[in-house]
Amino acid sequence: MNNSKSLKEGEEMGKNKAPKNKERRRFLIQMAQNVAIATVGGLVWSAFVDEAKAAPLLLRPPGAKKEKDFISLCIKCGLCVEACPYDTLMLAKPGDNKPIGTPYFIPRDIPCYMCDDIPCVPPCPTGALDIDSVSEVKEGKRVFDITQMRMGVAIVDIKDCIAYWGIQCDACYRACPLLDKAIFMEYRQNERTGKHAKLLPVVDPDYCTGCGLCEHACVTEIAAIKVLPRDVALGKVGSHYVKGWQKSDERRLKGSKGIQTTVTPRSKKSAVESLNEGIDFE
């Protein structure tokens, strides 16, 4: 364990003319001890790091890379936090139970106001916030477009949204910077009264940026519209469904060998024939 000590004792041993291989053995044992301690320490450390970096439910700043890359890149400097004029962003503190030192925001407290000039993204020194994902270079000039960001997606809880009860409320709709795109109102007959319409907020994930202005504006005690990370909230169809009514999607079938069926003695006849076989119909 201790080099200076071992050196000194080694010297003394030399003076006493102790056998050399004893010294060597001591050295090997010490080496083994070091490796063992490093391994144990490393395992405990890894377990802690592994535990501490997982946080699928956090909303990251505008332009943040995918969580895995973000966690690896963010150097925890807080430059994004300081750049935000609304104090939207925070760095996770020890004890917050979030990956320590990384920026996040809680829209119910302070949402992202979708600044046109996006002050929070360019200061990021590591590229954890990706400027290219929220801007384009047009004629040598960088043009920001905050509507490109996808921090999360708003989800409506249709049991607790009072508009779904039939009470008139469009607080979230009016709060949305992309109103009528990211969030629109759908008409439905109020079956309870029979003569009124319900105006229901519906979110379109194609446009929703996850800014959380809707969640911030929601009038219920706990917001009935909430922003969740897109990975958590959204599904994925997979490639085996095709929108046959869309030429572009239909094109995906080009070159496929058609539907492959397994051929068995029964499948020689049609399904109806096979099912009805042996039944006397008179």
């Binding site: 080099n3 490393g42 802690f48 890149l73 300081e82 020890p94 320590i100």
Partner: protein
């Protein structure tokens, strides 16, 4: 007054720099001052020059990510500075944890703790093992491993952006240094200190011992947080070349006999002659 200045001049200057740096970071967050923004992991000076912690950037590399240009340039500037000039001065002139561990060491000295615990039971090389391990774990888990547990980052980030339970880490280090191991954290474990020891190994600024003046009072070894580096005291006129020297200057100011001073590193040839 003059005597106090002479005895503590570097200590006072160091505390001033350490506090001023942290103050500027805090002012950037609270009042939006643009002098020094961010924290010691990465910052911006007067809104233009990037500075980054090169050890953190290396961990990010180990984790398999390529950092952006600003972090790269920042890490490069910092590395160059300590490599050529500053040595391990980060530890004694910048890092806020140094104030905590120095306090623990001060109480130890005044309380006579050192006399009770004379034996060294831990290697000063643990920090290099920890540094190696941090790269392996970063690689395996895809995130900068030391940055997640680092009490150093918890402290400077905590001071600027909110401490949370970070104070517990600071208290742990303080108690560990006070009761368990002398110079325990900074002198044995902290891989960031180890990193700067390696980077600053060949820097120009050095403390130099002038043996003929030495009266063997050993005050320097008593205050030095890395006293192995002072092996030449009373034996040979050499400059303190080991990277672990933090260039705190405590040895220089406690020496009443002008046997220790700051100097510029001598060229190899000259050293050989002696």
């Amino acid at each position: 007054m003059n005597k106090i200045w002479k005895k503590y001049r570097f200590l006072i200057l160091r505390r001033l720099t350490q506090i001023a740096i942290m103050f500027l970071y805090i002012a950037a967050n609270v009042w939006g001052w643009k002098i020094l923004e961010g924290n010691l992991s990465s910052s911006k000076v007067v809104d233009t020059i990037p500075l980054s912690d090169p050890y953190a950037v290396l961990q990010i590399f180990a984790a398999g990510s390529i950092v952006g240009a600003n972090a790269l340039i920042g890490a490069f500037i910092v590395t160059l500075f300590y490599m050529l000039i500053g040595g391990r001065a980060f530890c004694s002139w910048v890092c806020p944890v140094n104030m905590v561990t120095d306090l623990a060491n001060f109480i130890r000295r005044k309380g006579g703790f050192d006399k009770v615990e004379k034996k060294w039971w831990a290697s000063r090389n643990i920090r290099y093992w920890a540094m190696g391990l941090s790269f392996i774990i970063s690689f395996l888990l895809g995130t900068a491993a030391f940055e997640i547990v680092s009490p150093v980052s918890m402290t400077h980030r905590g001071l600027v952006f909110g401490m949370g339970f970070g104070w517990a880490a600071i208290l742990t280090i303080f108690l560990f240094d006070l009761f368990v191991l002398k110079n325990g954290w900074c002198g044995h474990i902290c891989p960031l200190g180890g990193f700067y020891s390696l980077v600053g190994r060949f820097s120009l600024f050095r403390v130099k011992h002038n043996q003929p003046n030495c009266t063997l009072c050993m005050k320097c070894k008593e205050v030095c947080p890395e006293k192995e580096v002072l092996f030449m005291i009373g034996k040979k006129s050499l400059s303190v070349n080991m990277g672990e020297c933090t260039l705190c200057g405590r040895c220089v100011e406690v020496c009443d006999d002008d046997a220790l001073n700051f100097s510029i590193r001598e060229f190899v040839k000259k050293e050989r002659k002696k």
